[in-house]
Symmetry: none
Subunit: 146 residues, 2 copies
């Protein structure tokens, strides 16, 4: 069994964040030691690592709740599971597409900024110029919040 601190450093998640996830029901209420300190199993560590990575990939906590639901109920009938998986798949595909557009723009920025002074640096110009980024307009700024 791990203490909250060990769990946090193992999964790369801060301690208050773990307690927050417990509070909102994303992690189960932890077992407690005789002195009331939280104790975690290996499976909770996996779950937390999953949450952390899913957050990095831009899923909201609600979406993560759904994804975790898939593995929490492995014998469930497939209709609902399939719907969730398909929805998440669509979201993932959209995220990939937009990240690739961003990647292109960043590459262009890096290419134009080869060590001169700011007056020669095109980073700011590129970022200000709508013509360079036709792809992504009108979209929710936080659809891929990281």
């Amino acid at each position: 069994m791990l203490t909250i601190g060990k769990l946090g450093s193992a999964a790369g998640v801060k301690i208050p964040t773990i307690r927050y996830y417990e509070q909102i029901g994303l992690l189960p209420n932890a077992e407690r030691s005789s002195g009331n300190q939280r104790l975690y199993s290996r499976s909770t560590q996996d779950r937390l690592a999953f949450i952390r990575h899913a957050r990095e990939l831009g899923f909201t906590l609600e979406a993560i709740r759904d994804l975790l639901g898939l593995s929490d109920r492995p014998d469930q009938s497939c209709a609902e599971v399939d719907a969730i998986a398909r929805a998440q798949l669509q979201a993932v595909e959209g995220r990939i597409a937009r990240l690739q557009a961003l990647k292109g723009e960043l590459e262009r920025m890096v290419g134009h900024c080869a060590g001169g002074t700011i007056s020669d640096c095109r980073v700011i110009e590129v970022l200000g110029n709508h013509a360079h980024c036709a792809a992504d307009h009108g979209r929710d700024l936080h659809a891929v919040s990281e």
Copy 2:
């Protein structure tokens, strides 16, 4: 001169967000019409477009404040700007790789869910596995919030 609504739709930024940017000093206090409505010049539109694109690329408002400050002293080296852009690019590439792993898993799940159960679901394993994401660890979860 543009009204706030025109400015917002021109730059792809919501009206309350523009007022919020003014409030926190990211945009200068707008000129006002005789009836106290905000009026914006072309240069403010450029500045807002810059902010919007930088936000999409994952820069925090503080980083954007710095970048806008840098562009006011155009004789400095742009190495710093370049470094920021490179860091963002790396983060985006890592994210794309992990999303593609997840996409593969979700596709597999959708396929499997044709009629059985999901007892063999690997989604958590994929996202829970640190080996799949060596790149990005220990980083601020919000370094690239798009």
